[in-house]
């Protein structure tokens, strides 16, 4: 599965992204399961709100963390996220 750069990306309504105070981390919740996220993964997923395409997500992250060349890492993560069903494009 590949990310289509021309389409916006949204977090799937079949999952829930949530900050867990006790664990001090973001998690993805789904039927009878949970995935713990590291900070970069959570930052990427929070931008998947159906209003941004890949390049916009990369630009915003690069601006926020004052860095460059994030595209490859972001794309790799999003393709995994798409395969896992956490995000959608339509």
């Amino acid at each position: 599965m590949c990310i289509n750069p021309d389409l916006t990306i949204n977090f799937s309504p079949m999952y829930r992204l949530q900050w867990e105070e006790v664990q001090q981390k973001n998690v993805i919740l789904y039927p009878e399961g949970m995935v713990e996220l590291n900070q970069p993964s959570a930052e990427i997923l929070k931008l998947c709100d159906g209003t941004r395409q890949l390049t916009q997500i990369v630009d915003e992250l690069e601006a926020k963390f004052q860095t460059t060349h994030l595209e490859k890492d972001v794309l790799n993560f999003l393709e995994d996220a798409l395969k896992n069903g956490w995000i959608q494009q339509n």
Partner: protein, 376 residues
């Protein structure tokens, strides 16, 4: 037990709330205790709210609302609403019996995240026979309604000798109903399933054939449906890492408020499982005898104690050791290193023989049979 370092205690993540032992179905593999009719008292709505608040504060995040049949509780929506407000991911684990569109909508409004519907088999005749209640068509209608209202749906089918040959039809049913997840739960032999084991335990050949079909299907539906395959531990040579380790992750609250480290632990002697009306979840989790009983590895006997896999499977399941060997400290007899492993081999042989003779009937789960178990 003695010597366990209490600073190592991790907080609960999974809370299984068994809201009631009442159930309109009579499945002969029910995981509720055989003597459930001894415990008719149920926690009040306020009790449940307090328990949910306390466990959430400690870090519990997955909430299973189960039973019995949780739909029997008229305050289910109120409990769901409270849980969702606290930030739980709320899972309703139901037979679907008695669920209608109005309640599906009301539960959604209350914040319910997911519904797991169980169906007993792929044909009406067998499903209704196993449920002890005419319910198959109704369950399928409910499954369609669950999807119509946008819930993620898990379809759960408990697998045993009566339905294992139907595996291809079960998989086709999951596709037809639009399940997002299919839980193929090979029967675990506790509670009523233990009492009916000779009639439920499939042969190794039956398991292997069904598993191969399920694995091929898993590949076929990749990206569309996820398969949870609960392994049949009688045919494995290592035990399951039961409950991810005692008192590390899972907390079950029985209908009457008894807190259990696993939903079968009520069958174990000497634990003195605490009640949520006598102490907070924090006290129960950290300080009670029951939750500390099998924490860590110091309680282990040989061959577990010197085994290099002991922190991987924690010696297997305490309830299984107790049910099969009569010693809850023993290595789970499923393990091929266990001196009692012959008990598993004998159970498989006896079940196979019973398949050929088929003389005794299944014992269905209902109050009269439960009372008979208490008497005997």
């Amino acid at each position: 037990m003695a010597g366990f370092n209490k600073t190592n205690i991790t907080p609960p993540r999974w809370l299984l709330a068994e809201l009631t032992y009442s159930c309109p179905l009579q499945c002969p593999y029910c995981s509720n205790p055989l003597d459930y009719s001894k415990y008719p008292q149920e926690l009040t709505t306020d009790d449940w709210k307090r328990v949910l608040t306390q466990a959430r504060k400690m870090g519990a995040v997955q909430l299973g609302l189960s039973g019995g049949e949780p739909l029997v509780r008229k305050d289910l929506e109120e409990i769901v609403k409270h849980a969702r407000e606290l930030g739980y991911y709320t899972n309703l684990i139901t037979s679907a019996y008695g669920l209608d569109e109005a309640r599906i909508v009301a539960l959604k409004e209350a914040g319910l995240d997911h519904i797991q519907v169980s169906i007993q088999a792929s044909s009406e005749k067998l499903s209704d026979y196993l449920a002890g209640t005419k319910s198959f068509e109704h369950k399928k209608q409910v499954a369609h309604l669950v999807k119509k209202h946008g819930y993620p749906m898990v379809l759960c089918v408990v697998i045993h000798r009566e339905n294992i040959a139907e595996m291809p039809q079960i998989l086709a049913m999951a596709e037809e109903l639009g399940a997002d997840y299919l839980e193929l739960a090979n029967t675990q032999y506790y509670g009523w399933a233990h009492a009916n084991r000779d009639l439920l335990l499939p042969t190794k050949e039956q398991f292997e054939k069904a598993e191969a079909i399920a694995q091929a299907f898993k590949k076929k539906v990749e990206g569309k449906m996820k398969i949870y395959y609960v392994v049949p531990d009688f045919h494995e040579d290592r035990p399951k890492a039961c409950m991810n380790g005692w008192g590390t992750t899972f907390l079950t609250i029985a209908p009457d408020g008894v807190a259990l480290p696993c939903h079968s632990a009520r069958e174990l002697p000497e634990l003195d499982c605490p009640n949520v009306n006598e102490g907070s979840i924090d006290e129960i989790w950290h300080d009670s005898k029951a939750f500390n009983f099998f924490r860590g590895t110091e309680w282990m006997q040989e061959p577990c104690q010197s085994c290099d896999e002991k922190s991987k499977d924690f010696g297997g399941c305490r309830c299984q050791a107790y049910l099969l060997k009569g010693d809850m400290y023993a290595t789970d007899p499923v393990c091929s290193k266990s001196p009692d492993h012959h008990l598993i081999e004998e159970a498989i042989k006896t079940a196979k023989k019973s398949q050929e003779v088929n003389e005794q009937p299944l014992i269905f789960r209902h109050s009269k049979n439960s009372r008979d178990f208490i008497k005997n």
